[in-house]
């Protein structure tokens, strides 16, 4: 589904943040991405989300070289990817429900066609009673769950989650993890960037460890 070959990234004339990354993310796979702070996890996530292009090497997304993808096609390809940003990126003037339904709304779907699905998903992430609340009055954990629900609502082919359990307590983290597992079972490839070793132990999944720009992969 996604393939990286000898990928390197540098910002301006600075040193390479990522060096010689070569790996692939197969369909239906589950993997954790970990490493010390500043190792380049977020940069790698941006590469995979096509919000950054490598300064060298090749990335193939859904069978296409990212360099050849025209700008106008990017939104259509991003619809196949669910992303959970580390800083959530919720729209403060929209309610929980409206934030989660946003990807469906921008695809032009009729509100009545997705209302039940959005409510069900919000119930799953424990926000069933917070449907009409705006993000300003929610806790960090609640915002994180909205961001996760927004990424999952359109059943993406791959889910990229940057520290998705960083602001929730351990029981909620496990609950969210079971949601990711369920999603994976239904066919979505999952890549979770996290520092939480305990969480990583809960799933028999591939571990990708990023350190000083290099990546080591441990298949299980």
């Amino acid at each position: 589904m996604i393939r990286l070959e000898n990928v390197g990234v540098r910002y301006g004339m600075g040193p390479e943040i990522l060096r010689d990354l070569t790996f692939d993310i197969p369909k239906h796979s589950f993997q954790f991405l970990t490493g010390p702070s500043g190792a380049g996890k977020t940069t790698l996530m941006r590469l995979l989300f096509m919000s950054l292009r490598p300064t060298r090497g090749n990335i193939s997304m859904f069978g296409r070289d990212v360099v050849d993808i025209p700008r106008d096609e990017l939104p259509l390809l991003r619809r196949r990817i669910g992303i959970v940003f580390q800083d959530f990126r919720l729209l403060n003037h929209l309610t929980t429900y409206e934030n989660v339904a946003l990807p469906l709304r921008v695809r032009g779907k009729d509100e009545s066609s997705y209302r039940a699905d959005v409510i069900e998903l919000l119930e799953w992430v424990g926000l069933g009673e917070r449907i009409h609340v705006r993000p300003q009055v929610l806790s960090g954990g609640e915002k994180q769950r909205i961001a996760i629900a927004r990424a999952l609502i359109d059943r993406p082919e791959i889910l990229l989650a940057d520290e998705p359990t960083g602001n929730v307590d351990p029981p909620m983290a496990l609950r969210l993890l079971s949601l990711f597992k369920e999603l994976n079972r239904l066919g979505t490839a999952v890549l979770i960037a996290t520092h939480d070793l305990n969480l990583m132990e809960q799933v028999n999944a591939r571990h990708m460890i990023l350190s000083e720009g290099h990546i080591d992969i441990y298949d299980r």
């Binding site: 990234v9 540098r10 910002y11 301006g12 004339m13 989300f49 096509m50 919000s51 950054l52 292009r53 300064t55 700008r71 106008d72 990017l74 939104p75 259509l76 991003r78 619809r79 992303i83 990126r89 919720l90 729209l91 403060n92 003037h93 929209l94 309610t95 429900y97 409206e98 339904a101 946003l102 990807p103 709304r105 921008v106 695809r107 032009g108 509100e111 209302r115 039940a116 409510i119 069900e120 919000l122 119930e123 069933g128 009673e129 449907i131 009409h132 927004r150």
Partner: protein, 330 residues
Amino acid sequence: MIDKAKKSVAKVKKVAKQQFRAPAPIVPPANLSSKALIVVVIIMSFLACLTLGFVTLIQETSKTWQNQISEEITIQIKPADDQDMERALLDAKSLALEFSGTLSAEIVDKTDTARLLEPWLGEGFDMDELPVPRLLIITIDKDNPPDFTSMRKTLTETIPNAYLDDHRTWAGRLVSMAQNTVFIGVGLLSLVLVATTLTVVFATRGAMSVNHEIIEVLHFVGAESSFVANEFQKHFLLTGFYGGAIGGGLAAFVFFITDIWQDASMATALNDQASALFGSFSMGASGYLGIAIIIVTVAILTALTTRITVIRTIREIDLVRSDPARSDLT
């Protein structure tokens, strides 16, 4: 356990269904920047419409001046010894009416002549004791005027003290002045329109700058550029139209009130002076049409600037994609 979960979901759905309303617009309602934009649009539309109104007024007044002057000529007869003034006036009248192109002639009688001289000579003076010239006002067909040279010659031969004034010198000066005034007015209007355009463009860009994050999120959740641009464009078209309508409406109201004031204070010194200078303050249909055009233009300008800003913002986001060194843009 499953039954319990199902009941819980059913309960949430029921509650949610009861509380649901139409989804909030994707573009947030007026924030501080949007409110500032509305104020700027109101002020600039008001000034632009006011300038347009004044230019229209001056143009129409100058036309009225030209028409009034070109419709009339005057014969002035100075008193002379052994001359019957009334007889001379009647002779001049019948002589003038013999020429093709004259429509009517009216002798300014003694009472009206006295009133004309009142500001200089005061009330109650005896006309017969002073050598006061008398006037004959002749209305002519402005499209087919009489032969002034021939009329002047015949008049001088018949009544040596008569003088024909066709107002040509005065009319020429007045037309020239009116044309200059309209030219200056159009220049001022152009400057105000340019200032309005620039101010609205920069105020819109300022109001849009706070929406960068929203544009980015929409772009990242799969919204196409045209969708994002349309959403913002719709919102700012209404903002521009709202501000423009208030500004333009206020300007139209100013002209409307001034017109009512002019009607109400008719025959007062102040009104006479204002009327002499500007004619009627009532703006014609062209003036109101101009105001409507300015309102629509301002709204379109705001919407267009928004569209360009959204597309430029998305391009900047994508520019970072192709050049990681440009991360400062996001």
